[in-house]
């Protein structure tokens, strides 16, 4: 079992012929993901790598292939348009890898997604992987193995680091989700926690947070109230200065709120085991499986 993606995932790649899109499509196919279509306006009728049909529009791609998921690798200025298009075309899960999406665009597209009943993951995220079933995005497949841990994270390479630690210790994962580091994202910690709680295969949850905002605090409250499975957490950015954006648009301490200390305290108050170092994940998870 897994969350959001699995063996039934039928994926369209938006921007399949671009530099990033073509590279990662090959990786996703190699991992075993069912990539059923690609979209690049003007290249409709061609085939990607002689196998995946390319369409001019998402509407055509979904109509022709019955795709249920899309992944977006288009330049920033087209990314929100691509999310609108995917949602309008009828897929139920949209994963936006592209970064650089203006936050005001996000305020407009989120109500659209809600009206259409579509889940967005990202933008500016590494996507997700359900080891052994499907990967949608850019998380390296070789660092993951199937197993009982659900992982959700705001960052990319830090996620890889932690997954890698788990995998080296032979602790596999149901699904690893990178939700992205932007201030407004489609799927947040709580959405993933709920899904992991509902997924019978997930026995423990790892949650990787950062400074900025109050998502981790809200997630902690949710864990306390609703999550019956053990949760291990981490907060990056203890040494970050206030008022400075630490790379991710969302990783910024505003005034006295959004600090790592505040988030760690919230985790501890919710009974979440907090890692001091990324490597601590192995001990803490092991003790709870």
């Amino acid at each position: 079992m897994s969350i959001f993606i699995n063996n039934d995932t039928k994926l369209v790649v938006q921007g399949i012929t671009g530099r990033d899109g073509s590279f990662h499509t090959k990786q996703m196919i190699a991992y075993g993901t069912k990539v059923v279509a690609g979209v690049t306006p003007g290249k409709g009728g061609q085939k990607f790598e002689n196998t995946v049909p390319i369409f001019n529009t998402m509407a055509e791609a979904v109509a022709a292939t019955g795709a249920n998921t899309s992944v977006i690798y288009v330049p920033a200025r087209f990314a929100v348009d691509a999310v609108f298009e995917a949602a309008d075309a009828g897929v139920k899960l949209v994963v936006c890898i592209s970064e650089g999406v203006p936050v005001l665009d996000m305020t407009r597209v989120m109500p659209f997604l809600k009206e259409k009943g579509v889940r967005l993951i990202g933008p500016n995220c590494p996507g997700l992987i359900s080891p052994g079933q499907a990967k949608v995005g850019i998380i390296p497949g070789q660092i993951c193995i199937p197993g009982p841990v659900g992982l959700v994270s705001r960052s990319g390479t830090l996620t890889y680091e932690v997954v890698y630690q788990l995998t080296r210790a032979k602790i596999g994962q149901t699904t690893c989700v990178g939700i992205g580091g932007d201030p407004i994202i489609g799927t947040n910690f709580i959405d993933c926690l709920q899904a992991f709680q509902d997924d019978p295969a997930t026995k423990a949850i790892v949650m990787m947070g950062e400074i900025g905002g109050t998502d981790e605090q809200n997630a902690a409250a949710f864990v306390k109230a609703k999550v019956k499975k053990p949760v291990v957490g981490f907060i990056a950015g203890q040494t970050a200065p206030p008022g400075r954006r630490m790379g991710h648009a969302g990783a910024i301490i505003s005034g006295s709120s959004g600090t790592a200390a505040e988030k760690i305290a919230a985790f501890e108050a919710a009974g979440i085991a907090v890692m001091k170092r990324p490597m601590d994940v192995v001990e803490l998870v092991k003790a709870r499986l």
Partner: protein, 383 residues
């Protein structure tokens, strides 16, 4: 990207918000000429720097005559506020003020929407109002699909004034502020104070706009407002090289791929008793030139006693990073020790490349950080 007050005022004026006249000066002579042109007698001279607390730092002063404006400007132009040199001052008429309020709009993460805020307690830092008298701040979520609706603006304005003539002026300003916010691609726009004059006119005295960096590509007119002179030169250099760099006060220079891993690396430096010298994210798709630029920027910081590379290869290829390190050491002498941790995509090639020039690479993040901290403590002598 932060706009200067004078830039924000101009955007608001163009949006139709009443803003008193004002001119920018970079020298005392210009300040005097500006005060003469304004010709209202008393003027206020305000430092234009991207830092809060200008007033307390002596960056805002009144002047009774143009001569005095020149004098005051020369003092303010000599200031450095929170590490930033004052290069420009704004000269504006000193307004007569009946009351001061605060209005602002931000993008709120929790509600995934713009949120308008108003407070009758204006003229002071809104964070302070939030901390001390939170009941004096009124918030309204704005549905971006509809914008700030008239009745919402009226409802907010009734929190500021009881006289309906003032309420209507404030409601109109709120709607225009919202539109200016959207048009500028801002993540924050505020007027503080919004004042009532003795003539019962509602006027914006000071303005602050922060633009979402992701908007700049499609808003060249806003991008053109960037004032590089007001930013840290290393950070400007990093941005030009597509790196994200933030200078800190420690001695372990960190070069990492990915913002989350970069923060975690800094935290681990601290965990092992060291102090990170910076945040530096070389981003997703590595190329050797970026690594060279990163090394240049980090080594330019005289505090740095050791450099720590922490690379988890995914899209980033470890061999690219290794090639960059080798290229940099050929272009200039790195005087402090470098500790390298590489794992993931093309790790083996990277190790070979580094060994080719006599450098070593580690694979464990924890051990690499401990080593870097240790080396830095020895003052970099163990290189």
């Amino acid at each position: 990207m932060n706009l200067h007050e004078y830039q924000a005022r101009e955007l608001l004026r163009r949006a139709g918000i009443p803003v008193p006249p004002g001119e920018v000066a970079t020298t005392p002579a210009e300040a005097k000429a500006a005060a003469e042109r304004i010709g209202t007698g008393k003027v206020v001279v305000k430092a234009q720097v991207h830092a809060g607390g200008r007033g307390k730092a002596g960056g805002v002063k009144l002047a009774d005559t143009p001569e005095q404006a020149a004098d005051v400007a020369s003092k303010i132009l000599a200031l450095t506020i929170k590490g930033l040199r004052v290069e420009k001052v704004l000269i504006a008429p000193a307004a007569q003020i009946v009351s001061e309020a605060y209005i602002g709009v931000i993008v709120d993460r929790a509600s995934q929407s713009p949120v308008m805020m108003v407070s009758p307690a204006g003229g002071i830092d809104i964070e302070e109002v939030a901390a001390k008298t939170p009941e004096k701040i009124f918030r309204m979520r704005v549905d971006a699909r509809y914008g700030l609706l008239s009745h919402q603006a009226m409802e907010l304005a009734f929190h500021l004034y009881t006289d309906v003539a003032l309420v209507r002026q404030a409601a109109d300003i709120l709607q225009k502020l919202y539109r200016a916010f959207v048009d500028a691609g801002a993540s924050l726009a505020e007027i503080n104070p919004l004042v009532v004059t003795p003539k019962n006119e509602v006027v914006a005295l000071d303005a602050k706009i922060v633009v979402d960096d992701n908007e700049l590509e499609r808003k060249p007119a806003i991008e053109a407002l960037r004032d590089v002179s007001s930013e840290n030169p290393s950070e400007v250099k990093a941005r030009d090289a597509n790196l994200t760099y933030i200078k800190l006060d420690g001695n372990v220079g960190c070069i990492v791929n990915g913002a989350g891993l970069a923060m975690a690396t800094m935290d681990l430096v601290k965990y092992y008793g060291g102090e990170p010298a910076n945040f530096l994210d070389i981003g997703g798709s590595s190329n050797p030139d970026k690594v060279v630029a990163a090394l240049q920027i980090v080594t330019a910081d005289p505090n740095v006693k050791a450099i720590l590379f922490n690379i988890f290869g995914g899209i980033t290829r470890c061999d690219d990073v290794a090639n960059g390190i080798v290229a940099a050491t050929k272009q200039f002498t790195v005087k402090v020790p470098i500790v390298i941790r590489l794992t993931g995509t093309n790790e083996q090639e990277a190790v070979r490349i580094l060994e080719g020039v006599g450098m070593k690479a580690m694979t464990d993040m924890d051990l690499a950080v401990q080593k870097a901290v240790e080396v830095a403590k020895k003052g970099g002598a163990a290189a």
